[in-house]
Subunit: 235 residues, 2 copies
DNA sequence: AAAGATTTGTTCGTATGTATG
DNA sequence: TCATACATACGAACAAATCTT
């Protein structure tokens, strides 16, 4: 049954189709999408409808428009699909991750608490070193419920951000709570990050809630101050 | 001559008029504005134009719409200072501020840029030392358009947060953008904060937009890492 | 470099569906 | 119940910027 689909406004349906074309790579960033007139023919709807769909996508930061030229897929529409209101990234062009540890663990009681798990539970623990242009910029310790472990294990080596992989497996996040503070580098952290022990690190603790409001990730990331970059936008 | 005004699209002109009605208190928060049909008569334009003006204002967070009921002016209550979705505070029980400098200035070009002011403009500049339990924890440099200067000057000595005072004078903010990074303390900052030069400070740059989407404040605050505490919650 | 075709931006008019009061 | 008001959707025309020839 596509009863619900029928209920959606036409312009939303069109928008969804256009977004799909971008997501699956049919229309790539920086390239123009078909003109309004072509879309009108293709979907057999009025110009109003097409324009409303495009307008929303512009507002969402997916498309860019300018008079006289077809809309372009915006470069770097990365987070725009994911987290409205926040841009959060490190500095650098060549970002990568090195996995230091990845294991199931029965300790890490603090993490269990953040994940709302009983003390006897097992958690999936991962420690990764994030680098930018080959220079270490952060140490990230992530904790997941063991159920998510297999998915994580497969995606961890390649993906810089794990949530898209989780999303493909039906694990979505609805709420993220981050806590920013500062800490001094331990000897081990200082060695990994190429700094002196005791120097200040920016620490972000993050708890991610799933669609059922249950925590699906708790992570603590310690950044070198120079490499840290964080922008928050609120209304 | 208002030649340029004439050049503005009709829906922008209408939007400006509607915004004026809200700014000068003709339409107060929580109250419905006239229906579309009434506005159509009043300004003698088409429904499309009215709707486009209203749509922009909804997007700017000035109006709220719902089917079957006229648009309402959005409430901008006290919590706008508290910002939904964000908790942001320093540690300590006895918080206070010490004003270091307060002046009009023609320099500070970076600040002018953030305030969308021309390079020849004058800005109101204020530097304050924030303390917790008598211990310095942050240096805050704030920039405002000179128009807001008098209000600021009166409130600055007593108020820890300036926005309530601004709100009482009809200056509301609708959008805040914060950028978190890190910097090393200069000699002067180190002296003020009782730390060593070169030590890491957490820096928050903040741009606050007013009801008409024009910047009303730009500030840069540098915190000692230990005293900093920041929690973000997103959906 | 100039002219013409294409494309988006703006504005009008009209009609129907659907939620509010 | 029922009139009012907003949301969605169609069509048409001209202006202004861009692209192509």
């Amino acid at each position: 049954m596509s009863q619900k689909q029928k209920k959606l406004p036409l312009y939303i349906q069109i928008k969804n189709k256009l977004v799909s074309n971008i997501k699956d790579g049919t229309w790539k960033p920086g390239v123009s999408i078909p003109s309004e007139s072509r879309l009108i023919e293709q979907y057999n709807v009025s110009r109003t409808t097409i324009r409303q769909a495009i307008r929303e996508m512009v507002q969402d930061g997916i498309l860019e428009t300018s008079r006289g030229a077809p809309a372009k897929v915006k470069e770097i529409p990365e987070e725009s699909v994911g987290n409205p209101g926040i841009v959060h990234h490190e500095i650098g062009t060549e970002m990568s991750v090195i996995i230091l540890r990845m294991e199931k663990s029965r300790t890490h009681y603090s993490a269990k608490h953040h994940l709302s798990l009983p003390e006897t539970a097992e958690v999936f623990f991962m420690e990764r070193l994030r680098t930018a242009d080959g220079i270490p910029i952060a140490i990230q310790r992530s904790f997941f419920p063991v159920e998510a472990g297999e998915t994580i294990e497969q995606a961890a080596e390649k993906e810089f951000d794990l949530f898209p992989a989780l999303g493909e497996r039906g694990i979505y996040h609805t709420n993220i709570k981050e806590h920013v503070s500062a800490a001094n580098a331990t000897q081990e952290e200082a060695d990994l990050l190429g700094m002196a022990p005791g120097e200040a690190l920016i620490t972000i603790e993050r708890t991610t809630l799933g669609i059922d409001a249950a925590p699906i990730e708790y992570s603590m990331t310690k950044y070198t101050p120079k490499a840290f970059n964080y922008t928050i936008e609120l209304e």
